[in-house]
């Protein structure tokens, strides 16, 4: 039986053993800590280390592997050409588990123990903001790859953070400008109840209202991120009978939503606008269930003509034995940008030199030249806006009638940015 009753206690010897045990455990722990800390300082010809923090498990995990594969590809290509200032690049990957606190722990460790030159990565917005805040406090350069919240480079921006991907504001605005031409009046919205989902809707709505003052909002829905039970939401939206629906759901929430929405006939009853939903990350897992006719931002890698991009896709598919995702392109451009900044910062880069190097830095990428703007560190990488359609031959949804909108076309004026950054 369990709970074996009373134990004989109270002998001094027992207590002593126990205390000895705890003291020796504590000492062993201290030794471990010492061992962790005792990494020799970097020599000049040693590789330049980049600390890469991303969600390799948890809620962001489905999207980070193709990103990582392209990061590794870019690093190998740069090193094959002799690296930067004669030094090779080395990326240390760390898993933030989708939690900001975990990301900060890694930032501390990467900088203090591994002595990385800069930090990079991030997928979820809240994780990116956390790393950025830590980087500001400790004066370490952070190159945010995928987090989308505009706060990162604007209201919470600082000299030590730059971002590669076009943010929620830019993409919301791209969609609003196309959507405004369609003259839908009654709008509903559904998105995950967190930073990204809310800002994605607000920027779109505000811009649409400017262009189409007659637009009305008939319903907003905020399921918890990663936990949607979609049936009730679909019914609720149908009963608000909007002309159009704005969706900022992504990942498993979006996939589950599509299934319920298709069965209940939602896509026949309203026009759907989806932020990011043309990215292979979100449309490929739906296979032939992908809804047609949605206005989306995304990445039609199969249909981008530039030779440099075609070669990038070819090399990636050969190396990773899979099709690229938008994350792959972002990961590749992130490393190219870091290498370019390191080149400009000189042979002995520190956070201040890197920060200066990134301001106004042009980078040649497979999709043309992008620039990290001097005023806020936001890159001018754009996004593709188009309409979804089913490619029956490949058995997945694709984007058609797409147009690449460069960041310059939708980014706010320097004046507005200065206001948002509080003069910084």
């Amino acid at each position: 039986m369990r709970g074996r009753g009373a134990r004989v206690l109270g002998r001094g010897g027992v207590r002593r053993q126990e205390t000895l045990a705890s003291v020796s455990c504590a000492l062993a722990a201290t030794c471990l800590v010492l061992a962790l800390g005792a990494v020799p300082p970097a020599r000049t010809q040693a590789p330049i280390k980049i600390g890469e923090i991303n969600s390799y498990s948890g809620i962001g995990a489905p999207f980070t592997l193709p990103y990582r594969q392209a990061v590794e590809m870019a690093v190998d290509e740069i090193n094959a050409k002799g690296g930067v200032h004669g030094r090779t690049l080395e990326v240390l990957f760390r898993d933030d588990r989708g939690q900001p606190a975990e990301a900060i722990k890694h930032a501390q460790e990467l900088v203090a123990v591994d002595r990385v030159t800069l930090l990079a990565g991030g997928f979820l917005s809240n994780v990116g903001l956390a790393i950025s805040d830590w980087a500001r406090q400790h004066k370490v350069m952070y190159v945010a790859a995928e987090p989308l919240t505009e706060a990162l480079t604007w209201s919470k921006g600082h000299p030590y953070v730059v971002r590669v991907r076009p943010n929620t504001y830019e993409q919301g605005r791209m969609l609003a400008e196309k959507a405004a031409r369609l003259k839908h009046v009654r709008w509903a919205a559904i998105g995950p109840n967190y930073e990204y989902g809310k800002r994605a809707w607000e920027t779109f709505r505000d811009r649409l209202k400017e262009l189409e003052p007659g637009m009305q909002v008939v319903g907003e829905h905020w399921p918890a991120l990663g936990k949607i039970e979609p049936g009730p939401y679909v019914t609720a939206i149908l009963n608000q009978s909007p002309d159009a629906l704005y969706v900022s759901l992504f990942g498993s929430d979006w996939l589950a939503f599509v299934r319920e929405a298709e069965k209940r006939g939602l896509f026949q009853k309203m026009f759907v606008v989806g932020l990011l939903l043309g990215e292979p990350e979100y449309i490929d897992p739906l296979k032939t269930e992908a809804p047609e006719g949605m206005l989306v931002t995304g990445y039609p890698w199969y249909d981008i003509g530039q030779p440099a991009h075609r070669q990038f896709v070819e090399r990636f598919m050969k190396r990773a034995d899979r099709e690229p995702r938008l994350g792959s392109l972002v990961g590749y451009i992130t490393v190219l940008s870091i290498a370019e900044a390191l080149r400009r910062a000189g042979p002995d880069p520190d956070a201040d030199r890197l920060s200066a190097a990134f301001r106004g830095l042009p980078v040649t990428t497979p999709i043309g030249t992008i620039t990290f703007r001097a005023i806020d560190g936001q890159s001018t990488m754009g996004a593709w806006v188009g309409t979804t359609k089913l490619d029956r031959k490949r058995g997945v949804g694709i984007m058609v009638n797409h147009e690449y909108v460069p960041g310059e076309r939708v980014l706010p004026s320097d004046e507005e940015i200065r206001k948002m950054r509080g003069g910084g």
């Binding site: 039986m1 369990r2 709970g3 027992v14 207590r15 002593r16 053993q17 126990e18 205390t19 045990a21 003291v23 455990c25 504590a26 000492l27 471990l32 800590v33 010492l34 962790l36 800390g37 498990s57 809620i59 995990a61 489905p62 999207f63 592997l65 760390r94 939690q99 900001p100 606190a101 900060i104 722990k105 460790e109 809240n126 903001l129 956390a130 805040d133 406090q137 706060a151 109840n193 967190y194 907003e220 991120l225 990663g226 936990k227 049936g231 019914t235 609720a236 149908l238 009963n239 990942g251 498993s252 996939l255 299934r259 319920e260 069965k263 209940r264 006939g265 897992p285 739906l286 296979k287």
Partner: protein, 573 residues
């Protein structure tokens, strides 16, 4: 709101409820008979969903492939349940019951990595159910036939379980064991076989739930944690060990969730936990539970807080080491030590709650998180200087704890634990959704210490003082000062996130206390140090940190069924 909307919403809620019922009934059954709080139940559910996905693609039975695959997946998961029960759980039935919880927590980690390794991390959409892909018009709206089938299936499963319990000898034994396990054993029933079969049956039910979700939801590697909290809520509201209570509460929660979408679109997180708290305050043993029935924490873990007194010389030596060595350490080691110290205090205070009070709190994170938010808000919003905010934080946490404690303390054991869980979730939801004050999921950033405290070494000494003082205080008064928690870590990281309030964080210190050994206060800090260091070291060297950590935890539990310090002590005796 039109009547047709209400009807369709009700049906949607019922379909969700049936999946909840399947998973919760297995969990409840297992708990009722074996007293195991099986955290791995959600992992079995996830595994079955992935197995269904793969098997359906490989079987060539035409329209029957999906159904055959689902059934096979549920049975395979049942088989895994058999292996787990016989191979692992059976070894620790003699240990304090909470060690089984530690073991199932380790299984969660291992299975999560197994799925990641076998199926990758990308989201998958499984097959739809052939023959049930369409929708039928109901009150002018389309409603999926698959959901109708689920609504029909749920009661059938409930009926099957009823027939099993009330029409077979095996069912009588299960019911008897749920009421009084010791008596059943005394009467000569083969307890081991009964436990094993119940664990397998429960696992099959979890597997069935997982298989049935495939046509409705996408497969993700976080399905396990997404479902398990909800399943626990259903079990507790229904009454631990009561399968029909689980049916009733699954319906209640599924339907309330569906209507919550219409009424409180932004508070969806809070709603079901409010229901749980209300039910438990009115009927502390759940809807169909039995007062004074199953009691997880009380039995078998009569914990005397006996190990607190340690010879002064050794304490002095340890303190001296902690004071003298750090100046020689690099900054990161100091950060890590601060975290260990903070968790040591956290774990020690939880230990006293468990040891002295006999209460297992899943809600300790609420105190931890409220302390953190209290300190951060006092500094950011009220503009207090850090040392003052530091002192004010425990008062904030204590004030909240008094409210929570008022409702919780009169409950016993598992219900206490579950109600603290509910309050933690409510606190989490409020923090998560009260964007203006708490920053929502972004947390509170920029909570950095003033310049005179910024050097890691100075900060370390402050943390040492606070945590050392806290542990000493605990040892002295043997009472858990609820709020004296992790403010140290907060300032070091310069930010507070809602995660600090979640169940995950509550499980961590529980794991630490259990790892160190519940019987002695010295166990908590040792457990904290071992867990934190393992975590840090393992994540450095492998992507599969969950599997490695889980594996080590399993080994530790099997090798040290009384915790590290507890086992060392028995070994020396």
């Amino acid at each position: 709101m039109s009547a047709s909307l209400l009807l369709v919403q009700l049906l949607s809620g019922l379909a969700h409820a049936m999946v909840l019922f399947l998973i919760a009934s297995g969990l409840s059954l297992i708990f009722g008979v074996t007293r195991i709080v099986n955290f791995a139940h959600g992992s079995f559910y996830m595994l079955a969903a992935y197995l269904t996905y793969s098997l359906a693609a490989r079987l060539s039975l035409g329209g029957a492939s999906f159904y055959a695959a689902g059934l096979a997946a549920a049975l395979l998961v049942g088989l895994l349940g058999l292996v787990v029960e016989v191979g692992l759980l059976r070894r620790v039935y003699g240990a304090p019951e909470l060690y089984q919880l530690l073991l199932t927590f380790a299984l969660v980690l291992v299975i999560a990595d197994l799925v990641r390794w076998a199926w990758g991390t990308e989201n998958l959409t499984g097959p739809v159910a052939p023959g049930l892909t369409g929708a039928v018009p109901i009150a002018g709206q389309l409603f999926p036939t698959y959901d109708l089938a689920l609504i029909a299936l749920g009661p059938l499963v409930a009926l099957g379980l009823w027939a099993l319990f009330y029409r077979t000898r095996y069912g009588i034994l299960i019911r008897a064991a749920t009421l009084d396990r010791e008596m059943v054993a005394v009467l000569g029933v083969n307890e081991a076989a009964l436990f094993t079969s119940v664990f397998v049956l429960g696992s099959v039910l979890a597997g069935l739930a997982g298989a049935l979700q495939v046509p409705r939801q996408a497969l993700t590697t976080v399905m396990d944690t997404a479902i398990i909290t909800e399943a626990f809520v259903v079990v507790v509201v229904g009454g631990m060990g009561s399968v029909f209570g689980a049916l009733l509460s699954a319906i209640l929660i599924g339907v309330i969730d569906a209507f919550g979408v219409l009424v409180l679109p932004r508070a969806s997180l809070v709603l079901i936990f409010v229901v749980m708290a209300v039910v438990l305050i009115v009927r502390p043993w759940g809807l169909l539970g039995r007062p004074g029935g199953p009691d997880a924490a009380g039995a078998g873990t009569t914990l005397a807080a006996d190990g607190g007194r340690v010879p002064r010389g050794l304490v002095a030596a340890l303190v001296a080491a902690l004071v003298v060595i750090p100046p020689l350490l690099p900054p990161f080691a100091l950060w890590l030590l601060v975290e260990v110290l903070a968790f040591a205090l956290f774990a020690a205070s939880l230990h006293l709650l468990m040891g002295a009070g006999g209460m297992v709190s899943f809600g300790h994170a609420a105190a931890f998180g409220l302390g953190a938010y209290g300190a951060a808000l006092l500094m950011l919003q009220a503009g207090w200087p850090m040392p003052l905010a530091f002192a004010g934080a425990p008062l904030v946490a204590a004030a909240c704890s008094v409210v929570i404690g008022f409702f919780c303390v009169r409950l016993s054991s598992i219900y206490f634990a579950m109600l603290t869980l509910a309050f933690t979730q409510i606190a989490y939801a409020i923090v998560h959704q009260w964007y203006d004050l708490t920053g929502g999921d972004n947390g509170l950033l920029g909570v950095w210490p003033p310049p005179w405290l910024a050097p890691p070494l100075r900060y370390y000494y402050l943390a040492l003082l606070a945590c050392g003082g806290g542990v000493a205080l605990l040892a002295l008064i043997e009472r858990a000062p609820f709020g004296l928690t992790l403010r140290a870590a907060v300032y070091l990281k310069g930010s507070v996130f809602p995660e600090s309030l979640t169940v995950g964080v509550s499980i961590q210190p529980l794991v630490m206390v259990l790892l160190g050994g519940v019987e002695t206060l010295a166990g908590a800090p040792v457990g904290a140090a071992v867990y934190k260091l393992l975590d840090t070291v393992v994540t450095r060297y492998t992507e599969y940190w969950q599997a490695v950590l889980g594996g080590i935890l399993i080994l530790l539990v099997v090798a040290f069924p009384r915790g590290i310090v507890g086992s060392l002590r028995s070994a020396r005796r």
